[in-house]
Amino acid sequence: MIESSQSSGIKTKRFTWENTKQFFRDYGWCYAFILIPLILFVLFTVYPLVMAFIYSFQRYSVLGSEWIGLDNYKSLMNSSVFWTAMKNTLIYTAATVPVNILITLFLALMIFPLNNKSQTFFKAAFYLPGVTSGITMSLIWLWIFDPTGAGLLNAIFNLFGLDSVMWLANPDTALFSLILMTYLGAHGAGILLYLAAMGGIPKSLYEAADIDHAGWWSKLKNITWPLLKPTTLYLLVMGIISSFQVFEQAYVMTMGGPNLATTTIAYLIYDHAFQSFDFGLAAAESFVLGFIIIVISVIQFKFMSTDIEY
């Protein structure tokens, strides 16, 4: 911007009418093009965000909200249910994201050496289930987790002489059951990203490693894994963000129960907003959640980001 103003003969950086005219003569078109997406962004992102922020300091009512300062934030900090939800969300995130990244990486490593046709087949095979609606998937999982011997998992358990488990009904196993769903869920997008990244690693590095006496494991550990780090970081950040917002499974499978075992923050927000009509509290919870996600993402980028060049 400074350069351009110099080139158009304006030496000062002061904000004057002359500057403005010149500026719009030079760049008016750019703004015209940017305007449409900007309007959409403001309408559908900025505006709701600002309104939600305002609601978080109010007792919301459609006919006139009442300003209550930090009461919503105070009450959620003092709510044992909020902390239970926080704990559940953290456990869910810690148990799903890293394991799923490893599963994805493992599958990508299995697919990568195959020829083009087989690669395409497996890419599609792993990607397509992700297109199925979450609700449909949940119905199938409800059957898999059926507490009686009629359920798939328990049928397998019974086959080996083990007792049936009340997967979703027992507070000790409910959250784990939801976590298990993600392990066997869709890894397609991650696989595609990993495969693309693997294709971008120069072959000569592996040949050099071959000559450097590196075995399969050493190559994976010292070449593949470090060079996939940007992809892993991306999957990690996106995975953590989405798992912090996990809602659908808890809503469809367990309604946050039993005994709050699957009440996640996002579920709690839904519950407070749409069941209790406490939109102010829900907004406050949303901002706490958003704040946590931002902090974690920044930390991750700070500690893990690298600009690998090859």
Partner: protein
């Protein structure tokens, strides 16, 4: 750089301002638009697909019947147009909640009564619009269900009642006189003995005397009503699921589970699963169900005859919930009907009056068909009269329903100050702790203690 930032900032700021204004402008704009012709008043109604059409019997779907009623209404009220929308059972509630809380509810909406709706300030009492004749025709319980702070907030289509259901063949095999129970009720001990007889293993398959859903506290709450406790929280803010009464009820459930009369997986059984188990002959008695199951069961039997469905036909009987010795039967039920709303941008008295007229038209005597089709008693005496054929009042099941709805009592109407906390108490303690209890992770004593403690922290007596 500075200049650039300043521009972006200004632009964003201006856009936010215009966006806000534009938004409001849009809303009013849309309002006038949909009204179209200036002399025409458009009234909206949102309801659900209460029943489907059936090609074989020639039965119309609810939407078709609704359209007929609307056509009649529009003919009777020139200048009023009705826009209707059939919501999905799964998503409709959410859609309405969002519409209500953004200030744009439909004028007429099908709903059970909910204090929260009234507390938004957008619900409109029907009191001024309803006639003496309407009120005289309306079932008392139905009227009570929609009455809050001395105002009538809706007009019910029907009176729904929760019952348990039984497999007549299995019950009679256990030597039970079904009609006697239907007419006189039964105690917890009598129920226990009968259910125990029904619990057995047939051809390697477990058959339970009793199956119920254990995903939430419903079965417990309804059994508490048969033990003299009508509400979780009383109108003066007392927590009622406490002490000996609560312990007694939980212990009864615990005994059923521990003795294998009820599956030990009850915690994992949802209503649909309980229904499937009953249909598969895995349960002699199951809960909860309701009169609607009679119609469902007839259809299922017909489908089996037609070879469309695999399975054994069932002779289905409605059963009352058993009551504790010395306590009275107290059926749990509700009334389903239409509530009246206005919008944040009030469209005026004339509009509300039109909406109220539509509401009463849609809940008129003819609309008793809704209940009758579902085998649920219509809320108007005149409706019950009109549809007595469909309601099979001469059958034991029909007579049982007639008797059982007389034991209905309305629940506590909580004052605004404690509604939110009562909701919290239920979702944050009563249901979660019950879930722990029903799968055997907590004893009856621990559960009651946990409830009592949590109720105290929320300020209940």
């Amino acid at each position: 750089m500075k200049k650039f930032n300043l521009f972006v900032f200004l632009l964003t700021f201006i856009l936010i301002l215009t966006a806000c204004n534009g938004n409001e402008g849009d809303q009013t704009g849309a309002g006038t638009d949909s009204e179209g012709n200036a002399d025409e008043d458009v009234v909206t109604v949102w309801t659900y697909p209460h029943y489907e059409g059936n090609e074989e019997t020639g039965q119309q779907s609810y939407e078709e019947d609704l359209k007929d009623l609307i056509a009649e209404f529009e003919a009777e009220n020139p200048g009023v147009k009705v826009k209707h929308e059939i919501l999905s059972w799964a998503e409709g509630g959410k859609k309405f909640t969002a519409a209500l809380n953004s200030g744009n509810p439909p004028d007429v909406f099908f709903s059970l009564f909910d204090e929260k709706y009234v507390n938004t300030g957008l619900a409109v009492p029907l009191t001024d619009y309803v006639t003496e004749e309407d009120l005289a025709d309306l079932n008392d319980f139905g009227e009570q269900m929609y009455t809050y702070e001395d105002q009538l907030w809706g007009f019910p289509h029907y009176i729904s009642v929760h019952t348990w259901g039984g497999n007549r063949a299995m019950l009679e095999e256990a030597g039970v006189d079904v009609e006697k129970i239907q007419q006189e009720g039964w105690t917890w001990d009598e129920f226990y003995e009968i259910a125990k007889k029904g619990t057995k293993t047939v051809e390697g398959k477990e058959v339970y005397g009793f199956v119920t859903q254990g995903q939430n506290e419903e079965t417990y709450t309804q059994l508490m009503m048969q033990n003299g406790v009508r509400n979780m929280v009383s109108e003066d803010g007392e927590f009622m699921f406490k002490g000996d009464k609560a312990l007694e009820t939980l212990s009864f459930l615990e005994r059923l589970r521990n003795d294998g009369i009820m599956p030990k997986e009850t915690g994992g059984i949802d209503p649909a699963k309980a229904d499937v188990m009953f249909n598969n002959g895995q349960a002699m008695i199951y809960g909860r169900t309701g009169p609607y199951k009679i119609r469902e069961n007839e259809n299922r039997n017909a489908d089996i005859d037609a070879g469309k469905v695999d399975g054994e036909k069932i002779d289905f009987v409605l059963l009352p919930l058993p009551h504790n010795d010395g306590e009275k039967e107290n059926a749990f039920g509700g009334a389903g009907g239409l509530m009246l709303f206005k919008q944040k941008d009030d469209k005026g008295e004339a509009h509300t009056e039109n909406a109220a007229k539509l509401l009463l038209k849609l809940t008129s005597t003819e609309s008793g068909k809704l209940g009758a089709t579902l085998f649920i008693p219509p809320s108007r005496q005149s409706g019950q009269e009109m549809y007595k054929e469909e309601l099979k009042l001469d059958t034991p099941n029909g007579q049982f329903v007639q008797r059982y709805i007389t034991t209905l009592t309305p629940g506590a109407k909580l004052p605004e100050a404690i509604v939110q906390n009562a909701g919290k108490l239920k979702t944050e303690s009563v249901i979660p702790n019950y879930q722990s209890f029903i799968i055997g992770n907590a004893t009856a004593e621990e559960t009651v203690k946990a409830w009592e403690d949590y109720a105290k922290t929320l300020g209940f007596k």
